[in-house]
């Protein structure tokens, strides 16, 4: 897939799988190498590339990607920011010190904001664990795959669209309640609320 095609598909949330595969095929080696050359292990490289892909899609879908920016450079900048943020935390833990992080690219602010959002969500992600398979499936298809209720209906055992609509809203309500009542996640949730 061409760069522009990838960006347009991600924007529309279509062919996401093919887009990610294409990004992996074309850029994985470069991004993993960056981490390894900057003090990371192969496993760090693998983790950072996955984080890069998630952040990249998130930035595009938030409409923050400027199309004139080169895709390769943009992915490289995300990887750099993710890895240096991790490295900084790691070094701070180990040495209680800090490292200087290069801040050069014009889109660093957007990238860092997305990284923070992603991290804040990561801290409250466990709330999804108790949702149950039926709810997880419905919410995934509706909010992630952006399918309509009529399109989701064949994947379920619900009689009609209205029953499914009620179930979907109930599932969402449960998730929101779980999120609110979990005191352990309170500070992380507050942090996420500030960012979104």
């Amino acid at each position: 897939l061409k760069d522009l095609e990838i960006v347009e598909n991600i924007e529309k949330n279509t062919n996401l799988n093919a887009c990610i595969q294409s990004l992996y095929k074309d850029h994985y080696g470069l991004l993993e190498n960056f981490v390894i050359k900057n003090g990371g292990r192969k496993e760090d490289g693998e983790d950072v590339v996955q984080e890069t892909m998630v952040t990249f899609i998130q930035i595009i879908q938030e409409g923050k990607y400027r199309k004139e920016a080169n895709l390769k450079s943009f992915l490289y900048a995300i990887t750099k920011n993710i890895w240096f943020t991790k490295l900084k935390k790691l070094k701070a833990e180990l040495q209680r010190g800090s490292i200087w992080i290069e801040k050069s690219a014009e889109y660093d602010d957007d990238i860092n904001e997305s990284i923070k959002k992603k991290e804040s969500l990561g801290l409250i992600m466990s709330v999804l664990d108790n949702l149950g398979e039926v709810c997880s499936n419905i919410l995934k298809r509706f909010y992630y795959e952006e399918l309509s209720l009529i399109e989701i209906l064949p994947f379920t055992n619900f009689e009609n669209e209205q029953v499914l609509r009620n179930k979907k809203s109930k599932c969402m309500k449960t998730l929101m309640e779980n999120l609110e009542k979990n005191t352990q996640l309170k500070s992380a949730l507050n942090q996420a609320l500030k960012l979104f």
């Binding site: 799988n17 990610i20 595969q21 998630v54 998130q58 969500l121 999804l128 992630y144 009620n166 309500k173």
Partner: protein, 233 residues
């Protein structure tokens, strides 16, 4: 639950301008609704990101698995290929055709026992005890050597690696009418190998008839070695 439907419509841009205005006004005035909408936004982001992570992770695992499989396979294939090329290079360099001249499926004892009288004479005895130089000396002073003596002299030259002389004698002999009709073309080819005239040797071996027992010597290994020698010379 009604609110969730409303949030879905608002974020999905399904509300008209007036409805959007109403909704945004409610949010700004109603603290509880605002909190609920914020929770909804975070929950929605959580669902999206969790599933995106899962999808990326699945692709990642497939990609790295494929890569791990592809890399060693390519490496092994490359190693085998380089190994073969290296071995071939060494083999071609060290292969000078000596082994081709040594390996004879048919021992030359058999022709010694042939000839006009089929009886061991002095020349037979000399050849049998590998007194090749003496046999050659005898041939040089013999005015009228018979066919067997001539052939044995050619073989004596061959055994002492005087391929040029051996070839000259063999080429003068009439192979078709000779008792050594099988040996003459084969050793002609062998002499040509000894002289590094590989293309001519191949032609000679190719012309060996199927009835010639020496044709068995010209098997695929022999051919391979000859073609390797052809590349070298």
């Amino acid at each position: 639950m009604e609110n969730i439907d409303l949030f879905d419509k608002y974020t999905g841009k399904e509300l008209n301008a007036a409805e959007v205005q109403d909704f945004e006004k409610s949010i700004s005035e109603n603290e509880a609704l605002k909190s609920e909408f914020e929770l909804y936004t975070i929950s929605k982001e959580l669902i999206k990101q969790d599933n995106l992570r899962k999808e990326v992770n699945k692709i990642h695992r497939n990609f790295t698995k494929k890569r791990e499989f592809t890399f060693p396979t390519i490496r092994i294939a490359a190693l085998i290929l380089f190994g073969l090329i290296g071995y071939s290079a060494i083999w071609i360099n060290t292969n000078d055709g000596t082994d081709l001249l040594k390996n004879k499926t048919i021992s030359y004892i058999e022709p010694v026992q042939r000839g006009e009288t089929a009886k061991k004479n002095n020349t037979d005895s000399l050849y049998s005890v590998a007194a090749f130089e003496q046999l050659i000396d005898l041939y040089k002073i013999e005015k009228n050597p018979d066919e067997k003596f001539t052939f044995l002299t050619a073989m004596a030259y061959f055994q002492t690696k005087n391929y040029k002389e051996s070839l000259e004698i063999l080429q003068k002999m009439n192979a078709k009418e000779s008792a050594f009709k099988n040996e003459i073309p084969f050793y002609t080819g062998q002499c040509l190998v000894g002289l590094n005239k590989i293309t001519d040797a191949i032609k000679t071996f190719e012309s060996l008839g199927v009835s010639n027992p020496y044709a068995r010597q010209y098997d695929w290994k022999y051919k391979l070695k000859l073609y390797a020698l052809k590349l070298k010379f």
